[in-house]
């Protein structure tokens, strides 16, 4: 899924008006991007509260540091997603993690897999919840490309820019990430299948 390039001029005009202090222009930009930013934050953070905080901080960043956005380097939407990603990942880093657990094939410890937050849970649907758990168990760099390229509306080029890697690395990393995710999902499915066979 990629973001349609579209004509950036109307959005740049909005941004210019926003920088001149027009609240209406800011609100228009916010309404255009709020859900994409919130969903991305939700996929990274896994909790609605954290995702709301990340969304708020992302748009505060836009208010206070709009000059950092360079239209030559991508769309405003991609820039906002990049800010949200960095803020969400900063939140992840605040929880100390054993470096060994970040190995590519390491499943996260059970207590780090977000199973117990039904009220804040991103997904109500059981199938989606399974995928979310498997995603959370992946190493961060694999989770990164899956969220950015498969689950958000960013192009490979935009994902490459956000991650600071080249587009070829995005492709190869995405291929490996898909393999790992499939394996995690099969691991989750296997004990369930075994339990069902035992019942029979």
């Amino acid at each position: 899924m990629t973001m349609a390039p579209g004509d950036p001029q109307p959005e740049l005009a909005l941004l210019a008006r926003m920088r001149r202090g027009e609240e209406g222009a800011f609100v228009a930009i916010y309404r255009r991007h709020r859900d994409a930013v919130y969903r991305l934050a939700l996929l990274y953070a896994g909790s609605a509260g954290t995702a709301a905080d990340v969304t708020q901080d992302t748009f505060v960043h836009l208010i206070t540091r709009a000059a950092q956005y360079d239209p030559a380097r991508g769309t405003l939407g991609a820039w906002l997603c990049g800010v949200a990603r960095n803020l969400a990942r900063r939140g992840e880093r605040e929880t100390p993690v054993d470096p060994a657990s970040l190995a590519d094939d390491a499943a996260l410890p059970e207590d780090r897999v977000d199973r117990d937050t039904p009220l804040e849970c991103l997904l109500r649907d059981e199938a989606a919840e399974e995928v979310r758990r498997a995603l959370a168990a992946l190493a961060p760099h694999y989770r990164d490309v899956l969220i950015l390229c498969e689950l958000s509306e960013l192009s490979y080029a935009e994902a490459a820019q956000l991650c600071g890697i080249d587009i070829g690395t995005v492709r190869s990393r995405l291929s490996r990430a898909r393999s790992r995710l499939a394996q995690h999902l099969e691991r989750y499915a296997a004990p369930q299948g075994a339990r069902e066979s035992a019942h029979e």
Binding site: F26, D35, Y38, T55, S179
Partner: protein, 160 residues
């Protein structure tokens, strides 16, 4: 199932199955929206920020003017004590022209001349061909002397 993770690309069947599962997550995520209360909080934040920027913009010309005034004052400041403590040797600048003691063309071509304040007996003026009243010959005269670089007197101007 193989316990070791494999980086081999997924075969088409597994890839399709994974796409279906990712699609489930995609659909679930698409159903989520940013909390409604965020917009009002951010709009308030925007207003505060815009107000403070307006103040900065309004004050910027004043700040520039203040900076220019400060720089001008700093540049002028060293001149003022100099003017107060080093008046022209005469103490006034309208004491009249110098009287040449040497031919004018010699004075005009002389490099590195110096003006020196001097005080001497009025009788000395007679040596330069100037009239001196005998009863005031002993009085001191204040003058400015123009000397050549070699110390030769070139011109003189009496000061009050």
């Amino acid at each position: 199932m193989n316990d070791h993770p494999s980086d081999a690309p997924l075969d088409p069947a597994r890839s399709t199955l994974l796409d279906l599962r990712l699609d489930a997550l995609r659909r679930a995520a698409a159903a989520e929206s940013a909390p409604a209360g965020l917009e009002a909080a951010l709009a308030a934040r925007f207003r505060t920020h815009a107000r403070s920027r307006r103040w900065h913009r309004a004050l910027a010309p004043l700040a520039v003017a203040a900076a220019v005034a400060l720089v001008a004052w700093i540049l002028r400041a060293p001149d003022e004590p100099h003017a107060a403590t080093s008046p022209p040797a005469s103490g006034k600048t309208d004491d009249g022209p110098f009287l040449a003691l040497r031919p004018l063309d010699v004075v005009a071509l002389e490099p590195g001349v110096t003006v020196v304040s001097a005080q001497f007996p009025r009788a000395l003026l007679a040596e330069w061909g100037l009239p001196v009243a005998p009863d005031r010959a002993a009085e001191p005269v204040h003058a400015e002397m123009l000397y050549s670089a070699a110390g030769e007197p070139l011109a003189v101007r009496l000061v009050r």
